[in-house]
Symmetry: none
Subunit: 193 residues, 4 copies
DNA sequence: TATGAATGAGTCTTCATTCAT
DNA sequence: GATGAATGAAGACTCATTCAT
């Protein structure tokens, strides 16, 4: 007996199938963008028959939304995990900023995450219905930065990171670590605290 | 020289036709993105016969590239024009920064320009062949900012503006002017000059 | 006998469910025609699970036939009810004809009934297996008209009413009452009685 | 050299192709009704590739409309031809009516025509956009009957014939000739002329 | 040179029916 | 008995590209 009981995968595991489809769609969005998303490709990547993709989602748009929500949730978890490694109690503010910058640089160096980021933003800029997902992710990002600074500064840093993310996508290398640390320091220097 | 030139609009004006096609394609990319680009739509929007779109461009990809190059050139001209209005002679550095911020805010408030921006970046992040176009635009933007600050700071401001542009797309309103001015000031404060 | 009977509405009422499914199917046929009939739509309209539609009927064709039979029965009841309001004892033949014409006009003015009529005929002209249903309805209609006239004339009036029904469907208004009365009178004038 | 010059049929005869597609669609509508109409079936019946059906008609609805217009035109021509055989100058009114009835009976005995008739009416009752086609055919029919009687009576006869047409479709045999002649006579007897 | 005809692949979506539970 | 999962076929429609003219 395995941990899931007698029904593991295959025919009768609706939840698992649904997840597999969403994961496949998310992967396609990250790899190729909205333009590459099609029922056929999702089905093939998820290893399910074509009909399954339309059975679980009323339309491709709905599937795309689910996939982006998944992406947003994963990004939020990742950034939270990143933040967990940075001590939140500032003895020396400068040291904290440096560590935060290092964390963000590590994050921006993970190409998969940056690609997911871009996929989320790109989709949202095209389809207003998806805006809440992108805005939600931005807010989650800001919320985490709030552990280290005020709201205004947190937003500025998040916005700057978004720009940096775009540039990481346009180069094979992410933004230089020292540059990033410098600019985050500059932005945080205006912190009234 | 005849004011009508040797090439009138209409039947025999290959150059004009080509431009009309490129402009139509650029408009479609800005309005709807790569996914909306098709020979038929371009032909209709440009008011040329279907065959013309394949006659002047070997493939849709080639046409898209030409359209994005057009977009990049126009964006560069726009930002240069914007900068022309900001006095380049820094008597009081703070005043200059404030004026620069105002100029950038005006730019980010022009939805058409921001949409063109996003179209360019989106295409470039998806197709490596188009990267030089987006990077060229970023460099042009940075070059203009260099009139006011050092290279490093110019890049940071440009990067921040890219992030701000994305957020302008996600909201109906662009980023707050005071916020933008504040953050540009913070970034410029690290200017060693 | 309990007033709720042994079969309540809800979980265990096979007969009620069957009726609900048939009624839903009939409604779809009237509203949109054969082309709109599908298990999914029937299930949704009837408020039963998808599986129920295939559980009670071996195929969609069988369900359609049941729905049309229901429609024919209802039409027959309606026309009988209409006739019940017209005095069957001919003192003055002309008066009876006028009242009959008024009754038929009222019937043809009820869009739902005319639509049901057309649905029945349309289905029957396309699928020979359904002919008996349409012919049965025509005979029932004729039988009722026989209260007022001979067989031959009754058939002629019924036939004329079928034509009038089609025209009621093609206009937003039914056929003019005076016109209808006039023509029924003309047809009945040949009555040898 | 044939009468059409060097391009006869096959690849470059757009008009001929269009006609072939419309004819195939009309045939399908007559044989099976709207429900049977599909691009695939039309293409196969017309002997053209699938893409041709969508190339010549923007949508299936547009193709259906063209096919029904074709049907209506043909019906009108047929009924006009029928009327041409009946002398329009009434020496003996009764004789004319008899000949007209004979003509109409012949018309109603041609199963193909009756089926086309029904196809036209059926489609029009379902889709308001097609109403003008069916009404146009009815008016054309009435106009021809006007050669023999007044407007009111012409409409009544046409309406009666529509009902008779429906019944011809529900039986393998058309309506009895004597019955038809009798009823047309009764309807015409009210003619105030 | 210029263009409209041409078409097969591929798009999303709906669905009847089967079947395991 | 009852039902939701499952799926392959078929639906309408779009289109990049080729090609004859």
């Amino acid at each position: 007996m395995d941990e899931h009981g007698s029904r593991r995968k295959g025919r009768h595991d609706p939840e698992g199938r649904r997840r597999a489809i969403v994961a496949a769609a998310a992967g396609i969005l990250v790899d190729g963008g909205s333009g590459e998303l099609s029922h056929r490709r999702v089905a093939e990547r998820a290893g399910v028959p074509l009909g399954a993709t339309t059975y679980y989602f009323a339309s491709l748009a709905e599937l795309e939304e689910a996939a982006l929500a998944e992406l947003a949730a994963k990004l939020e978890a990742d950034i939270a995990e990143m933040a967990r490694l940075v001590p939140a109690e500032p003895g020396d503010p400068g040291a904290v900023t440096a560590e935060l910058a290092a964390g963000l640089h590590a994050y921006l160096s993970d190409r998969d995450k940056v690609r997911a980021d871009c996929a989320l933003y790109t989709a949202a800029t095209r389809r207003p219905a998806l805006r809440p997902l992108a805005l939600g992710w931005f807010e989650a990002f800001t919320r985490i930065l709030r552990r280290y600074t005020d709201e205004r500064t947190a937003q500025a840093i998040a916005m700057f990171c978004d720009g940096a993310g775009v540039h990481a996508m346009l180069h094979d290398e992410p933004v230089d670590a020292a540059f990033l640390a410098d600019m985050i320091t500059r932005l945080a220097a205006g912190n009234p605290r």
